[in-house]
Structures are given as structure tokens and as C-alpha cells.
């Protein structure tokens, strides 16, 4: 009966299939399109005919493109990469039993992934593929394999990162996000732990206050501090942005961490205390090792908040200390030519890459973080 109950009729199957296909298309299309536009010359990027944008006839003519061999290699690399990822996926799933020692091996694994990524995309797809392209050029009949099919240029990416020194903004963002994540988590875990272990009136009011603060539009807080920060010479200083973002993030952090701490039985604390630990020792030696999944998940969301912020950074940071998101908007103001416009599109495409990788590695954590907050919140 089970199977009959939960199996869908054919019509429903078709409806489900079509809806999912439609949704994945809608979800992906804008992002993919940005990527496609960024690897074409301006004439092709803004062509009215979608096929011209995808194939890029002008780019093909002027710069060249990817041949059948290149495309084969691209597919192969993606396949290898995902295969390798799948084979190690358990590691990421079992992150829930992560202890302090395993954290190092976990980080090591991430390094391996990055190395593999670089090896596949910077070596296999460029040097080896080009070598084969050159080789097949001289083979009759197989020549067709090395004929460029799809226009492709990395010119805009190179212009953005090297000529326009976008890596400076990248470093600013890295500094700000790193600062926000570490401070948020340090302050937040302490409070989250205490709140999960206390049922007093203060704890209750603190949580309610945090809930209200969570709802505050960020502009309200910026209004309060903008003039003061400027008067005391904090304008253009990344530290000012970090402080504000940590404060904005604090209510969310303590709610989420609290709900993770609630999952850890209080008996553990009591047992530790009987063994002669004081509260802080119990927290650090017994509870924290069990909390890594929660901390990583909360850290991810803090990261997203800092990484994606526009309002605070735009008002408090100046051109040179600017993080990437406002810098990209500034890019659009700087553009005076079509090439500039495509360069800003390339900049936009490149700042989504870290997010893309983040989802790939931490999909489970993101999902668990979202649901955790809801179940206990």
C-alpha cells in the first residue's frame, strides 16, 4: 500500500517534472546569462538575438573561442570535479560530528578541492587543451574538432582584476567579512550558550529585545552613528563597518546559536560540573566541541550578511576602502564605454563565484541552519 499511496499518477508526475524544470530554469537563467555576457565582446554581449549572445560571432572572429576539444575538456573537468566531490561528500555530511582535531583535516580537504579546481581549470583546460587544438589543426578530417565554436574571452576578467585592481576590493571584503564572522561568533556563542541555559526574566527580555532589533531596518542604526563616526575620524575605516555589521548581526546570531545549544542536553553541563569544571571550562571543553556544526552554520550566515551588504558599506566606506558590492555599483558609474559596462558585468559575475562555491560545500549546513532557526525559534 505504501508504494501505491506515495506514488504519483502519470499526470502528476508530468506536472511535477515540468514545474521543477521550469523553476530550475528561472532560478538559473539570470545568473547564467550574466556569466555568458561576461565572456563575450561588448558587441555580442548586448546583441538582440540570444543565439548571437551565446555563440558570439564577433568574439569568435576577433578573439577566438572554444573548440569542440575545449568543450570536451570542460565537461570532463566538471565531471571529475563533481565525482571527486561526491566521493568525499560524506566528510561534509558528517561535519556534525566534527571535533577540534578533525577541523584541521576538514580544512585540508577544502584546500585539496581548491588545488584540484585550479589544476583542472588553469592547466588542463588551458595548456593541454590548447596543445591538442594545435595538434589536431594539422590532422586532416579531425581538423573540425579544433575549430572554435563558441566565442570566449577572459579579457574583461583580466581587466577587472589586474588593470582595475579589483583584488584590493576583494581584500577589503575579505577583511570585513572575516572581522564580522569572528567577532559575531565569539560574542554570539557566549551569549547564545547562556541564553539556552537560563530561563530567567532577563533572558526572556533579552531575547525579545533581540527579536525586535532583528526587525530594525539597517538604515535606522546607520543614521544614529553616521555623524559620530565621521566626527571621530572613522569614515572610510573598515573597522567602523565591522562594528556596525556585528551589531546588526548580533540579534540573529544569538537566536540561532541559542537554538543550536538547546539541542545539546543540559545533563552534559551538569555532569561536567560534578566532575569539577567551572562554567567556563564546561562550556569550552564539553559543549563547544559539540557545537562546531552550529558555529559553522551561524558563521555562514554572518558571512553572507557581511559579504552582501550594500547600505552600510556604501555610506561609511570610501573608494579605497570600499568592499566589492558597492565597488561594483561604482563601476557602473565609472563606465563611459561599452567595454567598461561588460567589465562591470564581469566583476559582478566574479563576486558570485565565492557564493557559488559556498553553496556547493555547505549546502547541508545552510539548509540545517535555516530549519534550525525555524524549529526552535
Amino acid at each position: 500500500m505504501e508504494s501505491k499511496l506515495f506514488n504519483l499518477s502519470l499526470t502528476l508526475k508530468v506536472i511535477v517534472g515540468i514545474s521543477i524544470m521550469l523553476w530550475t530554469f528561472i532560478a538559473l537563467f539570470p545568473l547564467l546569462w550574466v556569466l555568458i555576457m561576461s565572456i563575450k565582446l561588448p558587441v555580442d554581449s548586448f546583441a538582440a538575438n540570444p543565439l548571437n549572445v551565446i555563440i558570439g560571432p564577433n568574439t569568435l572572429k576577433q578573439v577566438g573561442g572554444l573548440s569542440f576539444i575545449n568543450l570536451m575538456f570542460l565537461c570532463l573537468s566538471i565531471y571529475i570535479y563533481f565525482k571527486f566531490f561526491k566521493s568525499r561528500e560524506n566528510y561534509f555530511l558528517k561535519i556534525n560530528n566534527l571535533t577540534n582535531n578533525k577541523l584541521i583535516s576538514f580544512l585540508l580537504l577544502i584546500l585539496i578541492f581548491i588545488a584540484l579546481f585550479l589544476a583542472l581549470f588553469l592547466f588542463l583546460n588551458t595548456h593541454i587543451a590548447n596543445f591538442l587544438n594545435n595538434f589536431f589543426e594539422y590532422v586532416p578530417f579531425l581538423k573540425i574538432l579544433s575549430k572554435p565554436l563558441i566565442g570566449f574571452t577572459t579579457k574583461h576578467f583580466i581587466a577587472v582584476w589586474a588593470e582595475n585592481e579589483f583584488y584590493k576590493q576583494f581584500l577589503n571584503t575579505a577583511f570585513v567579512t572575516l572581522g564580522v564572522v569572528t567577532i559575531s561568533l565569539t560574542v554570539g556563542t557566549l551569549a547564545g550558550y547562556a541564553l539556552s541555559r537560563s530561563n530567567t526574566m532577563i533572558a526572556f527580555w533579552l531575547l525579545v529585545a533581540a527579536l525586535v532589533f532583528r526587525a530594525l531596518p539597517h538604515s535606522v542604526l546607520v543614521t544614529g552613528y553616521l555623524e559620530l563616526f565621521i566626527d571621530y575620524g572613522l569614515y572610510g575605516k573598515k573597522i567602523a563597518v565591522i562594528i556596525l555589521l556585528v551589531a546588526i548581526n548580533q540579534p540573529f546570531t544569538i537566536w540561532m546559536l541559542r537554538s543550536f545549544f538547546m539541542n545539546i542536553p543540559q545533563d552534559l553541563d551538569d555532569a561536567a560540573q560534578i566532575d569539577g569544571c567551572n562554567s567556563f571550562q564546561a562550556f569550552w571543553m564539553i559543549i563547544m566541541p559539540l557545537m562546531w556544526p552550529g558555529v559553522i552554520t551561524t558563521g555562514l550566515f554572518s558571512f553572507l550578511l557581511a559579504y552582501n551588504d550594500y547600505l552600510v558599506c556604501a555610506l561609511l566606506l570610501d573608494g579605497q576602502s570600499q568592499t566589492m558590492v558597492p565597488a561594483i555599483m561604482q563601476y557602473f558609474n565609472m563606465e563611459t564605454t561599452m567595454t567598461d559596462l561588460v567589465e562591470s558585468i564581469a566583476a559582478a559575475a566574479s563576486i558570485t563565484l565565492p557564493l557559488f562555491i559556498l553553496v556547493m560545500f555547505f549546502q547541508k549546513q545552510i539548509v540545517s541552519g535555516l530549519t534550525q532557526g525555524s524549529v526552535k525559534g
Binding site: F170, A174, G233, Y235, G236, D318
Partner: protein, 404 residues
């Protein structure tokens, strides 16, 4: 993971920087310096010459005017040098953020002409490098084909636009820098000066009158011949419309004239010609404002930095450098020989167009105009309501600033 990313991106960027090797500069700069300015071609010409001397990072940003006061106000200033226009100069000057340049000019400024020195009570506070004005750009081939004379008044512009529209040779007969905000405010100011001379009666705004009404009507008439997305159309957008052959006429900044003949981007090389900004009344003065752009040096930096900054600025403004790119802007410089692309600006100035009446009052009004006009152009508000709202909003803003 993050560290590795940083490491990687740094290595990659260093490797790539190798491509952009610096050209020689006679006076190497060894003090790290920065600048903030607008991003149009003229600034690219100036800052790239300065970059060749090393240790210099320019920030080119078309929205620089939103940031310049805060940036120079911090101590030490975020930038040693700043590029200003007639109106931004007033805001940094009033706030006391720039330093007098007389002693530096005496030491290093031999190549400057007197008309480059912007003085307040005899003290040089800024060095002007170019003039700018919005004037008529037109497609000579289209006008010739349809037998239209180059329009000199706005009524003729509209008549010509009608003919071009009926002929259907381009997507839209007209272009215009009507983007909501500063651009649109500037369009109103230009047009209004075609009808009247002043925006203020003592301290109170005086645009709610027949002249204001005519200005609004004329702006709206023009939009009927433009790309319907005109409220997002800034100078760059209009420039691109020309380059792609989508429009036939527009009132555009002189600093954009050179781009019309840029073979890499333009499909209309040699076809766009320039004339004075049209008048609103036959025989009147061109409905446009004259601007200057120039360089100031921040007050909140050390004297050594200021000196190095000034020397560096002199490299950028050197007549030989500006003379190499006459098409980029109507430079104010001894070696400057006007290019054909500067003719529109020259004619507009000769026709008697007024200088932009820069002051704190004007900037405030400019901001109010830019925020209020979109509702009128989209039809959400009537002309009468719009003019009333402009004055009311100005009074609110000026009261809060203490200008009244």
C-alpha cells in the same frame, strides 16, 4: 580557505599586472598619492599621465560628488588630490577642505595660464583644466538626407525630430541626459536659463512662474521623441545611443564629443557633428550652462604630500600631455589647439551661455529639481503641482541647512 583565496588572488593579480608596464615619466613620484574625480575621458587622460610617475592611484567615479566632501573632510584626507567641477568646488571650498595654492604655483606652476587659476579674494584655490558645456550633437548625414537645417532653437529641434521620426531612419530622433537625479536637474537648469536669468529672488526660490512652466513644457515635449526609458538615461547611455546609430540628435556634454569618432566602439565615425546648444527664444542665448573642471589639493594632508601632489598634477595638466588628446575635452591650456569636436562648446560659449551659477543655494535647488521632476515627466504630477513642490521642497531643505 579564505587565506588561500587571498593568497591566490594576490599572486594572480601580481602576475597579471606585469602586462601593464609603465611608460617613462621625467619626475618620478615617491610619495604615495591618491585622487578622486569624475570618470569621463578627460580625467582618464590626466590621471593616466600622472600614473606613469608611479605611486599614484586615481579613483574615477561619476558619482564622485556624493563622496568628495566626506572623503576630504576626514583627517587625514582620504585623497590628496581631487578633481572638481564648478559646483563641487563650491562645496569643498565652503567647507574649508582645500588649501591655497599660491606658494606651490610660485614654485612649480610655471606652465599655468592666468585663466586656469580659480581665485577667491585673490587666493588661488583650484586649477581649472577644461571647460565643458552641453551642446547640440547631430547626425550630419541624416539631416542632409532629409533636407533639415541644423536646428538653432528648440522649436526647430522638435520640428526636425518630427521629420526624422516620420522618416523612420533611427530608433528615436532625440537623446537626452534625463536620468533622474543630478542629470535631470541639470537639464532643467539649462533650459530655464534659456528663458530667464535667475533662479532666486534674494534667498527664496523663484521658479514657480511662466518661465518655469515653459521649461517644463519644453522638457516634456522633448521626451516624446526619446527612448521611453529616458529616466535612466545618463551621459554614457546617450553617448552609446549615438555610437550605435540609434538616435539622430541630442544635447550632450562637450567632453563626450571625442567618443563619437572612436572607431572601436562607434558605428557612426565621422557622421556626428556639433553645434551650439539651441536657444529657447529665437535670437536668445543658448539654453546651456558653462562649466569648468579642475584640480584641488586637500587641506588635511601634510605639506610634503601637498607639494608632491601639486607636482604630480602639473604632470597631468602639462600642455604637452593635454595637447596629445585634443578630442578629449576643450582644454584650457597654452598648447591647446581646438579639435573639430570642440566646436560645439566654443559656439555655445560665444553665443553667450551663462556660467553655471554655483553656490550652496544652487546645489540645494539642483538636488531638489532632480528628485521632483520625474513625477512630472511620467505624468504623475501636473506642471503647477511640480513647480509648487520644487519651491516647497527647496524651502524645507534650505531651512534644515540654515540657508534661509
Amino acid at each position: 580557505m579564505k587565506k588561500l583565496f587571498i593568497l591566490f588572488s594576490v599572486i594572480a593579480s601580481f602576475a597579471l599586472i606585469g602586462f601593464s608596464s609603465a611608460k617613462a615619466c621625467e619626475n618620478k613620484n615617491d610619495v604615495p598619492l591618491t585622487s578622486l574625480s569624475a570618470g569621463f575621458d578627460a580625467w582618464k587622460v590626466v590621471t593616466s599621465a600622472m600614473e606613469e610617475c608611479g605611486n599614484f592611484t586615481p579613483t574615477l567615479d561619476q558619482d564622485y560628488k556624493d563622496k568628495i566632501v566626506a572623503a576630504l573632510d576626514s583627517n587625514p584626507s582620504q585623497y590628496a588630490l581631487a578633481g572638481v567641477s564648478a559646483s563641487t568646488n563650491v562645496s569643498v571650498l565652503d567647507a574649508g577642505l582645500t588649501r591655497p595654492l599660491d606658494d606651490l604655483i610660485a614654485k612649480h606652476g610655471g606652465a599655468l595660464q592666468d585663466n586656469q587659476k580659480v581665485t577667491i579674494n585673490g587666493q588661488v584655490m583650484a586649477i581649472a583644466m577644461m571647460t565643458n558645456a552641453q551642446h547640440l550633437f547631430y547626425r550630419e548625414d541624416i539631416l542632409n538626407d532629409l533636407g533639415i537645417d541644423v536646428p538653432t532653437t528648440y522649436d526647430e529641434v522638435i520640428k526636425a525630430a518630427k521629420i526624422i521620426q516620420n522618416a523612420g531612419v533611427v530608433d528615436y530622433p532625440l537623446g537626452g541626459t534625463f536620468a533622474a537625479g543630478w542629470n535631470l536637474g541639470e537639464e532643467f537648469i539649462n533650459m530655464y536659463l534659456g528663458y530667464a536669468d535667475t533662479f532666486f529672488d534674494e534667498n527664496m526660490p523663484a521658479v514657480n512662474n511662466a518661465n518655469g512652466y515653459e521649461t517644463l513644457k519644453m522638457l516634456k515635449k522633448l521626451t516624446e521623441y526619446m527612448d521611453p526609458e529616458y529616466l535612466t538615461s545618463d551621459s554614457t547611455y546617450v553617448q552609446q545611443q549615438f555610437q550605435q546609430g540609434k538616435i539622430a540628435m541630442a544635447n550632450l556634454w562637450a567632453s563626450r564629443a571625442g567618443a563619437m569618432d572612436n572607431a572601436e566602439e562607434s558605428s557612426v565615425v565621422g557622421l556626428v557633428k556639433f553645434a551650439s546648444a539651441p536657444t529657447t527664444i529665437r535670437g536668445g542665448k543658448p539654453a546651456s550652462t558653462l562649466w569648468w573642471d579642475g584640480v584641488v589639493i586637500a587641506k588635511n594632508i601634510s605639506d610634503e604630500e601637498a607639494e608632491a601632489a601639486f607636482k604630480l598634477a602639473m604632470v597631468g595638466l602639462d600642455p604637452s600631455n593635454l595637447g596629445e588628446s585634443p578630442e578629449a575635452a576643450p582644454w584650457i591650456s597654452s598648447a591647446f589647439d581646438p579639435a573639430p569636436s570642440n566646436i560645439g562648446a566654443v559656439m555655445t560659449a560665444k553665443g553667450g551661455a551663462a556660467p553655471y551659477p554655483a553656490s550652496a543655494k544652487m546645489s540645494t535647488l539642483h538636488g531638489v529639481l532632480g528628485n521632483t521632476l520625474p513625477d512630472y515627466l511620467t505624468g504623475a504630477a501636473t506642471a503647477k503641482a511640480t513647480l509648487e513642490k520644487i519651491e516647497a521642497d527647496y524651502i524645507t531643505a534650505a531651512t534644515e541647512k540654515g540657508l534661509l
